[in-house]
């Protein structure tokens, strides 16, 4: 239980989000372009962080699918900012030793000649520490 609370506290601190503001309308998930690729959806991030049910979020790959497009942030009627929780959960995983999702060695295989540098730096920021 203490561990559970600790993880919740850390996510709240890192994100600066107050999930209690949520009125559970689901607009974040309604607007999310990556919804179908996620196991846990934006509104579930908010609810599960609120209830301290963090572990399933961390074990899922849902947060790698978040596009950080801020549609959920801008359209949330309650200003909850779900994307910030997704980011905090993702950081909680990749900040751990050896948990980088994307390694520089993986990149050459993915390259194509039109690929903008912006894509690589963004992906490294999001998937690695």
């Amino acid at each position: 239980m203490a561990e559970r609370n600790n993880m919740k506290e850390q996510i709240l601190r890192t994100s600066g989000v107050n999930p209690l503001k949520c009125m559970r309308c689901g607009k974040c998930s309604a607007t999310c372009p990556a919804y179908d690729e996620m196991e846990y959806h934006p509104h579930q991030f908010v609810y599960m962080v609120e209830t301290g049910d963090i572990e399933p979020l961390l074990n899922s790959e849902s947060f790698y699918k978040c596009l950080t497009c801020f549609a959920c942030v801008d359209r949330c009627p309650r200003s909850v900012e779900p994307a910030k929780l997704v980011e905090a959960a993702r950081l909680m995983v990749i900040r751990e030793q050896g948990k980088n999702r994307l390694k520089p060695d993986d990149i050459p295989a993915q390259l194509d000649e039109d690929m903008p540098q912006q894509l690589l730096v963004s992906a490294l920021r999001k998937y690695s520490k």
Binding site: T31, H41, P77
Partner: protein, 663 residues
């Protein structure tokens, strides 16, 4: 020297639980001027009050200190007790040892110490109290209702039926308000026009009611019982005394391209118009923004066709001043703008409409004669999506409203049900966050929409509406199914939040009535005085006080009327004697107090004075109109010479209290 009695109330355990009431009574007995001190379980009870009365007689008391609950609660009670015992009621002081002491402290010693201090302060004040007598003012037996919607109409009818004359000021050319635009009304589905228009006619024909349509209140002076109101009768370029409402002019006017506000811009009207067939008064008005004659001097068709000779292009705005005893605000509401919610594509597609627009689309007198047709292409829509809570229950963003607009759940159920009833070939979806139906027969109504009419209620919000060809792709959450869904809709209806009419804020300023952060008028007490403004003589009717449906509006309108009747039935009003008073010998006529007075209660007069050297001198001094003064005390602070003081709250009394506390 006063002979003061101290009465310490236990309030059951409310006070006695945290305050040693016996010790308070004993300690205060030693204060200067105190000749009697006692405690009792419920001082406000009949037995408690009798105890006070007996003590006044037995100990020849001249002042009372009641250590009890807040003066808001029982000051009036104990003043009556004092009066019954032969004392001036203003010789009573309340020491609030409940809200300000026992309820906020947990430990007995601290609570007791503070109660004693509060009691000492009250004793110190009573030592300086003087008997006060309230002034009287007459009551003008006429009421003003601002706003001619169902709230204003009902209030006016009820006041008029009690025999008092009422004026309705309505800014549009007709009374009727929003209700006149509605199709059917929940939960009984009576036609709005069928139940409203008889009331409009009643108001129009009532001998005690005058209707100033196309008019606005521009200035309000005076005070409860004696308001002086300036009303601007906007030029309608049609003589009210001559126009018969035949409507010929509105058929012949060549300017056909004016957006028709009654149908929310979904069709057009002429430059000279009568808003709708059942308008009251049924008198045409010329829209000066569109009239060719008024703009260029070339046309004059309406004047030519008018057999009554009622057209007057030279008409000017007219200002009249009328005296009233009471004023009722009934300024109503509007749906909020959808500008900031364009994820629903309101600005991008004509087929995304608000619920009020939907009312007009289904109304027999509306732009489609009651047939539900898409505004874009006039086709019959098969899939219709309703989105609830658009702009309601928002927080933190600079768009939308924090409150629940209250009426949307029910009218959306009504729209969905009627659509399915009239057009069984339609699929109707309602996206909701919560369905809120607290009201008589309300939930049953919503359940009928679901169970009998097959409306698809889906828990979840719509995230995006994308116009695509002649479809509207609605992307939404289905939270119970745990999926994101897409619906190809033909028509999307947004349940827009409602907000107070824009005229309410400037009106509140004229009335010196208070508003909340949403520009709803504030009531004097949210539970016990819900139809009165804190400003005396100003009453609230309908949605200007908060979102409400028609049944609630009508009840509140009646309640406001009964308060007005209660006021107008009095011949004289007792004033508040705790008003400002200027010591003319000390006043130097500097005008500081006049500048800070929020009520305009201070004027100046030139008065003659006999000087010590036996000469006569004319001096300019401040004079307080005691009927207007509300006793706020701003002037006493602003006065540089100390001439201005507040009766009942004199500077010396306040200082004595402070000294007692700091001792």
């Amino acid at each position: 020297m006063q002979r003061i009695g101290v009465f310490v109330c236990w309030c059951g355990t409310n006070i006695a639980g945290t305050v040693d009431v016996v010790k308070v009574a004993q300690t205060l007995a030693n204060e200067p001027g105190v000749v009697f001190s006692a405690d009792y379980q419920y001082m406000c009870s009949q037995a408690g009050q009798d105890m006070i009365k007996e003590a006044v007689k037995k100990h020849k008391l001249t002042g009372l200190v009641i250590c009890s609950c807040s003066p808001r609660m029982h000051e009036a009670t104990f003043r009556k007790t004092a009066a019954a015992a032969g004392l001036n009621p203003y010789m009573v002081e309340i020491a609030n040892i409940r809200e300000q002491c026992s309820w906020v402290h947990k430990e007995m010693p601290i609570g007791t110490e503070k109660a004693i201090i509060l009691g000492k302060a009250a004793v110190a004040k009573v030592n300086l109290n003087a008997p006060l007598t309230p002034g009287e003012s007459p009551v003008t037996k006429r009421a003003l209702v601002i706003g001619g919607g169902i709230a204003g109409i009902q209030t006016a009818l009820d006041i008029a039926d009690a025999g008092f004359p009422v004026d309705i000021v309505e800014k549009l050319p007709t009374i009727g308000g929003k209700m006149a635009q509605l199709d059917k009304t929940f939960p009984t589905l009576d036609c709005a026009a069928c139940i409203l228009t008889p009331k409009m006619v009643d108001a129009g024909q009532h001998e005690k009611i005058r209707i100033f349509s196309y008019s606005e209140v521009t200035d309000i002076g005076g005070f409860v019982g004696n308001f002086h109101v300036t009303i601007k009768k906007k030029a309608r370029y049609v003589r009210e005394d001559l126009c018969t409402g035949c409507g010929l002019c509105t058929e012949k006017c060549p300017q056909k391209k004016v957006p028709n506000e009654f149908n929310l811009g979904m069709d057009t009207r002429r430059a000279i118009y009568i808003p709708f067939a059942q308008a009251v008064p049924k008198i045409a008005a010329i829209d000066e923004d569109y009239c060719t004659m008024l703009k260029t001097g070339k046309c004059g068709v309406c004047a030519k066709v008018c057999t009554a000779g009622a057209i007057d292009y030279k008409q000017q705005d007219e200002y009249i001043t009328v005296d009233y005893g009471a004023i009722v605000a009934a300024t109503g509401y509007n749906p909020i703008s959808m500008d900031k919610f364009d994820e629903f594509a309101y600005s991008q597609s004509k087929d995304v409409i608000t619920s009020l627009e939907f009312e007009r689309l289904t109304n027999a007198a509306g732009p489609t004669a009651g047939k539900l047709l898409r505004p874009s292409d006039g086709k019959h829509p098969h899939t219709i999506v309703f989105v609830q809570c658009v702009g309601s229950r928002c927080s933190g963003a600079d768009k939308g409203k924090e409150y629940c607009s209250k009426i949307c759940c029910m009218y959306t159920a009504k729209h969905a049900m009627l659509t399915r009833d009239k057009y069984p070939d339609t699929d109707v979806y309602v996206f909701y966050i919560d369905v809120r139906t607290p009201g008589k027969n309300f939930d049953e109504f919503y359940r009928r929409a679901v169970e009998e009419y097959g409306v698809h209620y889906i828990k979840g919000m719509v995230g995006k509406v994308t116009p695509d060809g002649d479809k509207l792709v609605v992307q939404a959450s289905d939270l119970l199914a745990g999926k994101q869904m897409k619906i190809d809709a033909d028509l999307v209806v947004l349940a827009a939040a409602i907000e107070p009419d824009k005229s309410a804020r400037p009106l509140a300023t004229l009335l010196t009535a208070s508003m909340d952060t949403n520009d709803f008028f504030t009531e004097a007490h949210p539970k016990l005085r819900p139809v009165e403004s804190p400003t005396a003589g100003v009453f609230l009717s309908g949605t200007c006080q908060g979102p409400k449906d028609i049944p609630e509006t009508v009840s509140q309108a009646g309640a406001a009327a009964s308060k007005v009747i209660g006021l107008l039935a009095k011949d004289k009003l007792m004033g508040n004697p705790c008003v400002a008073h200027s010591d003319e010998m000390m006043c130097n006529g500097c005008s500081s107090c006049e500048k800070v007075c929020p009520y305009g209660a201070i004027t100046y007069a030139d008065k003659e004075y006999r000087m010590p050297d036996r000469t006569t001198k004319v001096r300019r001094v401040a004079v307080v109109n005691e009927a207007v003064c509300q006793g706020c005390g701003c002037c006493t602070v602003a006065c540089p010479s100390g001439a201005m003081d507040l009766k009942g709250f004199a500077s010396a009394q306040i200082m004595a209290e402070v000294d007692a506390i700091c001792k």
